[in-house]
């Protein structure tokens, strides 16, 4: 059994519940890696492109599966108003071995940052895209 899933939602997520779904998939799961991004410093509003957001995230999962032997992966990205400390995004990867789980998780985050149609706005206005994110994603080319 395997599980690959993407979701865009306004509400929060529970890392424990999401991770449990991957841990229980098969006796071959030996490593689960997670990344949680959370709102730092100031509140944010997250706008997204419904439909395309899910589509890009699905495409990223397909790309990761082609590169690493994953047993499962989940991406949850929130939209709407978010307070400081609130989680924005969760990426979970499960594999037999830790290297694959680590690399796939980092790959998915780097590409989410540069491909998935989400835009952050804070009190100063729309947040500018960063060159460092482009460079991080380019590592995987």
């Amino acid at each position: 059994m395997s599980l690959f899933e993407v979701r865009v939602q306004a509400g929060p997520f529970e890392i424990g519940a999401e991770q449990a779904r991957l841990s229980a998939l098969t006796p071959e799961v030996g490593a689960v890696v997670s990344f949680t991004g959370q709102v730092r410093d100031a509140p944010l509003l997250l706008e997204h492109y419904p439909g395309m957001a899910e589509r890009e995230m699905e495409a990223l999962l397909a790309d990761a599966r082609a590169r690493w032997p994953l047993i499962g992966a989940i991406i949850v990205h929130r939209h709407g108003p978010l307070a400081v400390g609130e989680p924005i995004v969760l990426v979970l990867t499960a594999s037999s071995h830790r290297r694959a789980a680590f690399e796939a998780c980092e790959f998915l985050m780097d590409w989410l940052k540069t491909r998935a149609p989400f835009w952050k706005k804070d009190a100063l206005g729309w947040v500018d895209a960063r060159d460092s994110d482009e460079q991080a994603a380019a590592r995987w080319d």
Binding site: M52, V89, K113, A116, P117, W126, A129
Partner: protein, 84 residues
């Protein structure tokens, strides 16, 4: 015959619309279409002056400015993404 335009983030705010229909009877490159849109309003002109600051998606797939837009398509214009 038209193209469905959708706008996000500051492109949406400057234009003052989240989306609109634009008459289109034959295919043309997205860059040429964007140039025509500048004539619609001061907001359109401001948002679409410097295309190098924008990204686009045709039918929800990221493409370049040379992509051919056809009647019935959905064309999205937005700044570089900043999620995650």
């Amino acid at each position: 015959m038209s193209v469905r335009l959708v706008y996000f983030a500051w492109v949406r705010e400057r234009i003052g619309l989240s989306g609109e229909e634009y008459p289109l009877t034959q295919s043309l490159p997205a860059g040429e279409l964007a140039a025509k849109l500048r004539a619609l309003s001061a907001g359109h002109a401001e948002a679409l002056t410097d295309l190098s600051r924008l990204r686009l998606a045709l039918n929800q797939q990221q493409v370049g400015w040379d992509a051919l837009v056809s009647p019935g398509d959905e064309l999205a214009l937005f700044p570089p993404v900043t999620g995650g």
